[in-house]
Subunit: 471 residues, 2 copies
């Protein structure tokens, strides 16, 4: 039996702002152990017995970053393949595209295990047992969902009523009263958003219940560009065709309608850690109930969750707060309002405020940059280039650039010259000069770029050649 | 009658951390109108009728910054003179030194008006009337204190019981119950920390009540270096002699013992704005009682005071908080605990944490610098040099420096060369090269300095020549 774990990496994680941003969503949040949620999801799938390929559906803006995350933990060199969406269309189109792709490659009997990229599962062994059971049911033609044994009357999750592996009904996020009844009854499970099915069954059920989605998704796949390279397979969906796929969740589109649905009840230490209180609870509290990551000084402070990277947080006479500090934004929320953090995110987005979209450090296929400062007519960046990577061959019309290498070595095209810049050397790129930066070394190249000119916006760039298809 | 306003600029303002720091204490805090408390104190004295000189006693580390502050507002070109202390010894030594100095220069009949550098007085006209009355009493041989009509039962101030201009007794900071009694009696006034006296009277009373302080202070004055220049007189006290002056307040050392004490009761809109709640109350509240300065996004938030310079503050479901954001530290305090902020300051100081001492932007006689970033083997600074100012002729043993001018013009000595660097030009200073930066222009020169080397600490500096006596 061939099992293809398929990670759906979507959703903003708006309740986890300011760490979570549009271009740095929840799956990329790193926990105390240094691993991101996305890496944990990858390992969850990749470590299952017999798995040789992990398929990921994600936004194309997140591809290089996702690949980096996987590379960091992919010690067994499991094949990673990707379907890249130009924008999100909920889970049904993503699953339709993935199932079509898997069927094409491995045939209709291949079993797909759909995993969320941003959940936590504490008990990997129990998870594996649940997957075995689910795969068995899937092979017999069932669409299997994983139902989590509830341990509290959560109002933020959907529920399903079950009898053994039989799903009696799905129910929406309930009121607290209803949720308490569900919990007491012992017959209700949380709908975890993980699924297991043979691609043949899913495609057949989609044909029956949401043919429009299936047909449109297949068109996307056929018309998409496909690129082979580096041992992975990559399928990038085109915006024009993908826009034609109706936006719907797999629950609405298929699961709640199909008569092939089954459930595997499980107790696997599952958590969707949707809020700062849930995420904070992963850190051990001190004697006053405070959970601290980073540099903080507390006076008369109880039961607070504090996370800070590079600044000092001082608190006086407060309790039950979540305080999250990032280089360009800080959140202060009462724990009881943790759900409401999403309103800050959505208002920032509506206002076009940069703090909803990206962090001060921006990831690029070739590495990353951080804006250290800017003023009228200048901008200063720290640029880190991965070993072997190159920025595009480019030119700026309105700004010149001074480059100082502070670590590693840079190979630079500057106008007509090809030069090597060692640590503690510099070069000057006048406006209008074609230039390119490559790291020819085996360690990261770090340089400081001082831009100077009448206009220093990111959009003053002409790309002549790019290793990442961005010309 | 000759009146010399004398500003005592001491005290950390530890309850106003993180804006207030050891090297950027409370008097330098700027209010909504753009003026610092120190500038307001200066104008308060300088605008009194007939005043031609304002004397300031301050820490020597704060001299250049204080002078800059005065220069900004000193439109009438009142003479500014300074006594610089190597460290704080409370008010009695400062007043002893100042009174000795004034007596020496202007004779024993000169009237000294002692002002705090970090108070707010809303009604300048009422203040002037109170000063006239006080000066009259001072001329008749009284040590005059200014007693503020209380409008609330403050427990943070000392009180004095008065009958007309007669002081019946001084009382320490009272309990709330006592304070309420004092307020109700109508006979008690807040002890404001402002004084007025003829220097002859004060010196004579000191001779009687605290001769040790007076004698030691006079020794300091005699042995101090004196430098004339730029129209001001500057007296820098030596640490060795100043350490011999007993540490005491003028209240304990003289006022509470002397039988020459008088009080001028006044109603002048006085506030010592000692805490963030008091300082915050100067900003107009919005409909939810929030007082906001800077970029903030509030959801379900009431009665909060938020101050931020260059980052976004998001709040959710909180009330009655003070949130103060600075580039390297953020404070979150309950308003009812505003007094306790000092504990954060003192603990940071005990730990030697940089955030108690200076901000990321550091002021120097020649201008200022801001550390934009640092890493292993490098540090990046934004350096701003005042028109006409020069850094010292210096050399670093372990680091080289790349300088990129992004605004204005720099005149540079680099080893054997004398060069001009215009905006968008750069130079490289190898380790071991003597170098000097001067701004020959009429606008500030802004440059980005990338330091590179095995060690980039501030103490790797050899100064050969300095305009500010720092060699």
């Amino acid at each position: 039996m061939l099992l293809i774990p398929t990670i759906l990496c979507g959703g903003a994680g708006s309740r986890l702002w300011p760490v979570s941003r549009e271009l740095h969503p929840k799956p990329f949040i790193r926990l105390d152990d240094g691993q991101s949620l996305l890496q944990k999801a990858f390992l969850r799938g990749a470590c299952l017995p017999g798995v040789e390929e992990v398929l990921t559906v994600t936004n194309r803006e997140l591809f290089f970053k996702t690949e980096d995350e996987f590379r960091e933990v992919n010690a067994d060199a499991v094949t990673t393949s990707f379907i890249l969406e130009p924008f999100g269309r909920n889970t049904a189109p993503a699953i339709a595209a993935a199932a079509s792709r898997v069927a094409e490659k491995y045939g209709k009997d291949a079993i797909m295990l759909v995993l969320a990229a941003d959940h936590l599962i504490a008990d990997q062994q129990a998870f594996q047992q649940a997957v075995l059971k689910a795969a068995e049911l899937a092979a017999s033609g069932k669409l299997v969902t994983f139902g989590i044994q509830p341990d509290s009357p959560e109002t933020g999750y959907g529920y399903l009523e079950a009898d053994g592996n039989t799903v009696l009904r799905f129910v929406e996020k309930p009121s607290l009263e209803k949720a308490q009844q569900y919990l007491a009854s012992g017959r209700f499970l949380w709908n975890s958003g993980m699924f297991c099915f043979s691609v043949g069954t899913m495609l057949q059920q989609m044909e029956q219940y949401c043919p429009q989605i299936l047909v449109a998704a297949k068109v996307c796949i056929e018309q998409s560009r496909s690129a082979e390279g580096k041992g992975f397979r990559l399928l990038e969906l085109e915006p024009d065709t993908f826009a034609n796929v109706p936006d719907d969740s797999i629950d609405y589109a298929v699961m709640e309608k199909s008569d092939r649905v089954a459930v595997v009840p499980c107790n696997i230490g599952w958590s969707d850690i949707g809020t700062w209180t849930a995420l904070g609870d992963l850190t051990e509290p001190d004697a006053d109930g405070n959970r601290i990551q980073g540099d903080a000084l507390l006076y008369d402070t109880q039961n607070c969750t504090i996370q800070s990277n590079d600044r000092l947080v001082g608190t006086v006479g407060v309790k039950n707060l979540v305080i999250v500090d990032t280089p360009d934004a800080v959140l202060i929320a009462d724990k009881s309002s943790a759900q409401d953090v999403k309103h800050i995110y959505s208002e920032l987005k509506a206002k076009g405020h940069e703090a909803h979209k990206s962090h001060r450090t921006v990831y690029r296929p070739w590495g990353m940059y951080t804006v250290l400062g800017e003023g009228r007519g200048f901008k200063i960046k720290r640029i880190e280039v991965k070993p072997g990577a190159s920025l595009s061959l480019q030119m700026h019309r309105q700004r010149s650039e001074h480059w100082v290498v502070v670590s590693g070595v840079a190979k630079v095209i500057n106008g007509e010259r090809d030069i090597i810049i060692n640590t503690n050397e510099s070069t000057f790129i006048p406006a209008g000069h074609r230039h390119r930066l490559t790291n020819p070394g085996t360690v990261p190249c770090v340089m400081i770029e001082v831009q100077s000119g009448g206009y220093v916006g990111e959009d003053d760039i002409v790309r002549f050649e790019d290793n990442y298809g961005r010309t």
